[in-house]
């Protein structure tokens, strides 16, 4: 059984079949095939949800490692593990009210907000220190940035209406074209990578180590 499960060729065949079973029905439109394909997709969604446990196990291991080694500040890791278990317990009491609700609004939500909001400060200080009109390209970047910043500020956007058409033009053409260009490039790259994986040319993705290749 172990040899069957370790067989690289079998893995690639299973992956190819799974791919075809999801890819082809989309274009063939046969009801029975669609139903079976949807079933496989549902199974995939559930199996993918299991993978979160792998991340949690890794988190636990790392935490226990730090606690066992008594590294500086190990009690913070102990605190983290305690809060993790507490949250599980709170959810069993109720997810609509009670301590779970309190933790969501007193801890998780404000910290999540600050986690990303702090980037505004970093962006502002980095822009203030790095955005220098050293050459033509930097000057063009600065000018387009300034025009859009001035338009975005509602006060100037409303009173100095000359900025609006230029800012809208920049956003709907240059920025949109850059977004489109990146989208096309990333899509081509993703397709090429996907085909390589399906054909078995990227064994590391399947968890096959270099020694086994």
């Amino acid at each position: 059984m172990a040899e069957i499960l370790k067989n690289r060729q079998l893995q690639i065949i299973v992956m190819m079949l799974s791919f075809l079973f999801v890819f082809l029905p989309y274009f063939l439109n046969v009801p029975q095939l669609n139903t079976a394909s949807t079933k496989l997709i549902t199974i995939t969604s559930i199996v993918t949800a299991f993978t979160i446990a792998l991340a949690v196990i890794a988190q636990f291991r790392r935490g226990m490692n730090i606690i066992n080694r008594r590294s500086r500040g190990w009690y913070f890791k102990a605190y983290m593990l305690v809060t993790l278990v507490l949250m599980l317990g709170f959810s069993l009491i109720s997810r609509e009210t009670g301590p779970y609700h309190w933790v969501m609004f007193a801890v998780v939500n404000p910290l999540s907000s600050v986690n990303y909001g702090i980037l505004a400060f970093y962006m502002a200080s980095t822009a203030a220190r790095a955005f220098r009109a050293r050459n033509t390209k930097a000057l063009m970047l600065l000018l387009s940035g300034f025009v859009v910043l001035i338009y975005q500020a509602p006060l100037t956007g409303a009173y100095f209406t000359g900025f609006e058409p230029i800012a809208l033009y920049l956003g709907s053409t240059f920025a949109m074209a850059a977004g489109r260009m990146f989208l096309i490039s990333v899509t081509v790259g993703a397709i090429v990578f996907g085909v390589r994986v399906i054909l078995g040319n990227e064994p590391s993705v399947l968890g096959i180590s270099k020694e086994e290749q």
């Binding site: 939500n109 200080s125 220098r132 409303a158 920025a175």
Partner: protein, 287 residues
């Protein structure tokens, strides 16, 4: 201008970044404590978003998807609440689904914010709106839901069966009249690929970071409308005549932008007035 130690120009080139943090914090908090009330212009994209919502008919089934962490909700809550307000006024039937675990509490905040309108329009849970909870953990879940909704969704977020609610009328992507997606990018591309691409009408309210990457979808017709960040939400509040968190924030929003412009200008004055001179001096001495 001082030659020996650079004086004000040197400070402008090399000031401590914590001044930027403090200045930004003050210009944002100040107007929140003492609102000024500034005018706002409405962009064509927001008008387009508003027009799409105006076409919603009573009884239309709207999939209200929250693809955002709680931090993203802080930015786009104005658009979320204004959109929900409009949908309730149109008597649309709304199903909330979320793609991030932190967003599981957001539907109750939305319902609380529009409680008056929902009461006035006699909205009942199950008949007119339903909260499904965390139903999009990954792309496969989105795709399965698009092809056979009841294969992945059988209960609401508290474990009550959805049988007997308006979701009995939903089989697959064709049965939704509109998808209103509020996103920081979690499952949005999956919704576009598995719903919008197949023809389900879809509108989006995204954070500022995503505007450039979502505009191609708007331009190619996959998306019907795109509401952009907090400013878009404020514009929508202005259009519907119901001020909310978006318009309240616009004062601080304006001053935040000006603070950034001022600091960049200060940096450039310092660069040309001090740093560049120093660099030229050093290269002359090296020769």
């Amino acid at each position: 201008m001082a030659k020996d130690n650079g004086g004000i120009l040197k400070w402008m080139a090399e000031y401590d970044r914590r001044y930027v943090y403090l200045a930004l914090f003050l210009v944002m908090v100040g107007p929140l404590l003492r609102p000024i009330g500034m005018p706002i212009s409405v962009s064509p994209d927001t008008r387009q978003y508003y027009q799409v919502l105006q076409q919603v008919q009573p009884g239309d089934k709207v999939f209200f998807t929250l693809n955002t962490e709680f931090s993203g909700y802080n930015e786009i809550q104005s658009g979320i609440i204004a959109t929900m307000r409009l949908l309730v006024e149109k008597n649309a039937r709304v199903a909330f689904g979320v793609a991030h675990v932190e967003a599981t509490v957001i539907p109750e905040l939305i319902v609380k914010a529009v409680q008056a309108e929902m009461t006035a329009n006699d909205y009942q849970y199950g008949r007119d709106y339903i909260i499904l909870g965390y139903i999009f953990p990954n792309e496969a879940a989105v795709a399965a839901g698009a092809q056979d909704f009841h294969s992945v969704v059988t209960q609401d977020w508290l474990g009550r069966p959805i049988a007997g609610t308006f979701l009995d009328e939903i089989d697959d992507w064709e049965d939704w009249d509109l998808i209103a997606d509020f996103t920081t990018g979690i499952a949005t591309s999956y919704l576009i690929n598995h719903y919008a691409l197949r023809g389900t009408p879809m509108i989006m309210n995204c954070i500022g970071v995503m505007i450039a990457s979502e505009k191609p979808y708007l331009d190619s017709g996959i998306l019907l409308a795109l509401l952009q960040s907090m400013r878009g939400g404020a514009e929508l509040e202005f259009l519907i005549g119901h001020p909310g968190p978006g318009l309240t924030a616009m004062d601080g929003f304006s001053f935040g932008h000006y603070a950034l412009i001022i600091f960049i200008l200060i940096g450039n004055v310092g660069y040309f007035g001090y740093t560049r001179q120093q660099q030229m001096k050093i290269s002359k001495e090296a020769k």
